[in-house]
């Protein structure tokens, strides 16, 4: 079964994470520079939030993997994206119904490996 990981991390963590993800069996990653806020509304640890939210820069990673390696991949992200502070990010896991590689028409797991 295919699963999609959408995760939001601190931009500085991307460099070390990408190599570890390849080691964990990931065959492709799409990233985008995004901004957002979470429970802290964009305020740093210790800061007192007011009504105005602050959008902070984050990197979003989109990765589709086989269920078999999903746990390894999420563990890798949790380990390497952690900052020990608020704002380290989040991981979302979504079911993927199907995938198709355009060049070969391969579908399912074959399309991503």
């Amino acid at each position: 079964m295919l699963k999609k990981i959408e995760c939001f991390i601190q931009p500085l963590k991307l460099d070390s994470l990408k190599d570890a993800l390849i080691d964990a069996g990931v065959e492709g990653i799409t990233i985008s520079e995004v901004s957002g806020f979470g429970r802290q509304r964009g305020y740093a640890q210790g800061e007192k939030p007011n009504r105005n939210v602050k959008f902070l820069p984050k990197v979003k990673l989109e990765i589709v993997v086989d269920e078999e390696i999903l746990d390894d991949v999420t563990k890798t992200i949790v380990k390497l994206a952690a900052t020990g502070k608020f704002g380290s990010g989040k991981i979302f896991i979504l079911p993927v119904e199907d995938a198709i590689r355009i060049r070969t028409k391969e579908s399912g797991i074959s399309a991503i490996t």
Partner: protein, 417 residues
């Protein structure tokens, strides 16, 4: 003929013995796995259309039920005999085990020629046969399905007879029902679709990511016809299609949809204009990448196996390759996807039908096909991994994997009482 019939059972047993020896299964367990659990032989009397009484003989064999209720087809054919039914029941045990379905194996049959019986007489045979085996079957015990000479209508009669006896509707007692009675979407082409998934997985492990490959399909019935159409849609070049009448050949590719239309009109492949007509035996010697035998048993023999030029043989039919021919294919490094794996799509969607019937919740065709792909791919990769790790061919790997799971289930359950 009698000697040959005994052969089916003896041959199945000798293949099982070889597998059990490889697995180092203990003698006691070997004895257990060789025997069917239950064998029923019943008389099926009916009153014919002319008012006379005819007696038919029917069988139902359950080989092993330790992994779940028994599952297997019912065939109506004049050559049906107990040895054949026993062998086919055992093969169903291995097939369900290999694909990971929670079923044991069964098979049934009636010695009758459905082409010489009226619909009325077939209904009488089916209902009386069902009544005679009624205590042995049921959605939690043994679930019949169509086979040679039986179809969705026959399943509908079994369903009705069983349900009348129980006093309420029991759609889960058979699979292969008409969709209006709880049949599954996607069952019609399930065997072919499953076969195609195993071919695609084979290409994947061979590192071939192109569909610019040529295919020869032997047989243009349900399995062969649908396999040709699915492969054609995926972009494969179907260079040859054969059936009992002829072998159509075109190096540039055939359109199976067009051929199907021609066949529906003319009831034969002969005379189709956009292809060369070859003697049907020649399908095995053609230059192609993939060969799909999807007709009868024992088609690839020691006589024609040496001439096969395909790199992949995907056994859509049951037992299309004789043991002698199998050795030749192995020597020539041809990758054989064995029948027990390549044609397991049919029983897999039967399983889906049973699940849907038990839940009274039905899936779309897309859901069925995606779930089928998951199961077929998993079974393929498990078999492939086993074959690489143990350095055996795919057929041996499939038997070893299947038998070891049944042996494990049997040993975990222990001997009652």
């Amino acid at each position: 003929m009698a000697a040959e019939k005994n052969n089916v059972w003896e041959m199945t047993l000798s293949r099982l013995d070889a597998t059990m020896d490889l697995l180092k299964i203990k003698p006691g367990m070997q004895k257990y796995l060789r025997q069917p659990r239950k064998t029923l032989e019943v008389s099926v009397p009916i009153k014919t259309d002319s008012g006379s009484i005819e007696i038919f003989k029917g069988y139902r064999v359950q080989h092993n039920t330790n992994r779940g209720p028994a599952k297997g087809g019912i065939r109506y054919h004049p050559d049906v005999n107990l040895d054949e039914i026993k062998a086919l029941a055992m093969l169903m045990t291995w097939k369900c085990s290999l694909v990971g379905l929670p079923f044991g194996g069964a098979k049934g049959g009636v010695i009758a020629d459905p082409t010489k019986l009226s619909a009325n007489e077939l209904e009488h045979i089916t209902r009386r046969y069902t009544f005679e085996i009624i205590d042995a079957i049921g959605p939690d015990k043994d679930i019949p399905a169509p086979d040679v000479g039986t179809n969705a209508q026959v399943m509908a009669w079994i369903l009705d007879t069983y349900s009348m006896d129980k006093g309420h509707s029991v759609p889960g007692v058979v699979t292969g029902k008409p969709i209006s009675l709880g049949g599954s979407q996607g069952r019609e082409d399930a065997t072919s679709r499953g076969c195609v998934y195993t071919i695609l997985s084979t290409l994947k492990v061979m590192g071939i990511d192109s569909t610019d490959l040529s295919v020869a399909v032997q047989g243009f019935g349900n399995v062969g016809g649908n396999a040709a159409k699915i492969l054609y849609d995926l972009g494969f070049k179907i260079i040859a299609i054969s059936d009992v009448s002829a072998c159509l050949y075109n190096k540039k590719g055939l359109n199976p949809f067009d051929i199907e239309d021609y066949f529906k009109k003319n009831k034969t492949l002969c005379g189709y204009s956009s292809a060369e007509e070859l003697p049907r035996e020649e399908i095995f010697g053609l230059e192609c990448d993939i060969l799909v035998p999807a007709a009868l048993e024992n088609q690839i023999t020691e006589k024609n196996a040496g001439g096969i030029k395909a790199k992949i043989v995907a056994e859509g039919a049951n037992a299309p390759t004789t043991p002698e021919a199998d050795k030749i294919l192995k020597q020539n490094s041809i990758f054989v996807i064995p029948d027990v794996l390549a044609n397991a799509g049919g029983v897999t969607v039967s399983y889906f039908e049973w699940v849907q019937g038990n839940l009274s919740y039905f899936w779309t065709k897309r859901e069925v096909n995606l779930k089928l792909r998951d199961i077929m791919e998993r079974a393929f990769y498990e078999t492939y991994k086993f074959s690489s790790e143990h350095k055996v061919d795919m057929r041996t790997a499939a038997s070893m994997l299947a038998v070891s799971r049944v042996a494990e289930a049997t040993s975990l359950r222990g001997i009652y009482p």
